[in-house]
Symmetry: D2
């Protein structure tokens, strides 16, 4: 367990957003970090005809996953509606970016790897959202 994760564990009690599972959140933080790195590299190396959409979606996803990661690392500022909207945006962007990258997977090994990192991040965000929705029983 790295240092940031140790710090998170010690702040679990300060976490004002109920229904968010800390182990799940740590997985989501790591998935966001891996996705930011893969998208940064992928957008850096994309060049040539027809790669403009892919490159730009990767840049957007790198920025969004960094923002999402930081939001999860600020336990004292968690606001449920904001978290859910940001998770939704991250998930949507990661899925769209994975789809775009998959179009070039045979030409660019970077795109295949980036698509995988995006998909894993999208799934981690979806899991977080599901766990929270699950915490609110349907009355």
């Amino acid at each position: 367990m790295n240092m940031a994760m140790q710090m998170m564990e010690s702040h679990q009690k300060d976490m004002p957003v109920q229904g968010m599972d800390m182990t799940m959140m740590q997985d989501c933080i790591e998935a966001c970090s891996a996705c930011e790195q893969a998208c940064t590299m992928c957008s850096s190396t994309m060049m040539g005809d027809g790669m403009s959409m892919c490159m730009n979606m990767c840049m957007n996803t790198a920025d969004m996953t960094n923002t999402m990661m930081r939001m999860m690392m600020r336990p004292a500022g968690m606001h449920m509606e904001s978290m859910m909207a940001a998770l939704q945006a991250t998930m949507t962007m990661c899925m769209a970016c994975a789809d775009e990258c998959m179009k070039h997977k045979d030409m660019h090994a970077d795109c295949a790897m980036c698509a995988e990192a995006c998909r894993q991040c999208a799934m981690a965000c979806q899991k977080m959202m599901d766990s929270v929705s699950g915490a609110k029983p349907m009355a």
Copy 2:
């Protein structure tokens, strides 16, 4: 009109997201930039009992508005569903941050100004979303 705006005008033709008004988008970019700056300063100066939520929400909003601004400045990577989800997240976070800042407006002049920048940014995002929805006639 500043340089980035001149650059945007020249790329209007590359913009693959139909139904997004360029003038409106420029207003939204400027509102995001102003909000990032106000939130960065506000979070930097918040200290003392009970200010933790405010400080952390401002940090989150600074990161999100920067991400949103950059997304709007990448015309070749625009993907409608991603744009709408990110606008929704930015709007939600700005409104929540404005509400939190308003609680401290009498004690902290920074919070009053920051709340105003957040509100203006939320409105600019809402306007963008409305214009797009309006572009899709209800068949």
Copy 3:
């Protein structure tokens, strides 16, 4: 004067880095913000053979100028040696990015505008550094 600048004025007294002129710092903040925007757009639209260096240097400069801008907006965390090293890095990157962009200025109007934004930012950073050095008379 925008809101962030009003907020900065009110915190001038908290500024622990002596010898930094607030008006000059406001100019530098605006130059960093304009440079981040121009570089974000320029890197987004660069495509084609031989543009890889330009695109990637613009991405780096966009990230660095955002970091520099934020550092200047956190008066309570200013540490002289850190400020000077970051100004030096920003100035170096802006000058190199301007040089690279100028190579393509005839083909890409974006590059000509981006180079100008980079040069103005480099000059604003240099001015800040000079003013600080100037504040320390050589005994």
Copy 4:
């Protein structure tokens, strides 16, 4: 080895900055990433009298290490003078942030961990700089 590192290995040949060791660069990327995370958490949880400098230096360091990490992940945009200036800035900021955090290590476990992440990042940056200087024998 994670995906971003696999991507980096495959782009080693595109790396225009000679004298930078790829294994060392991967260590530096990981140290920057860990430092960004530790500083983000540390700045989020700092509150109370006398913690303002610490909180703000951590925010600055989180932004700078993210910028530095991204620069190292963009092989096609590497420019030696820019890399060296950014490494110098990151190293300076990490050392200063570690010193500030160490002042509070007995009161705040977060600060002790954050100081350690900052120190490791500063050392990784120093190593990168040394290896490059070493590559240029003094004629």
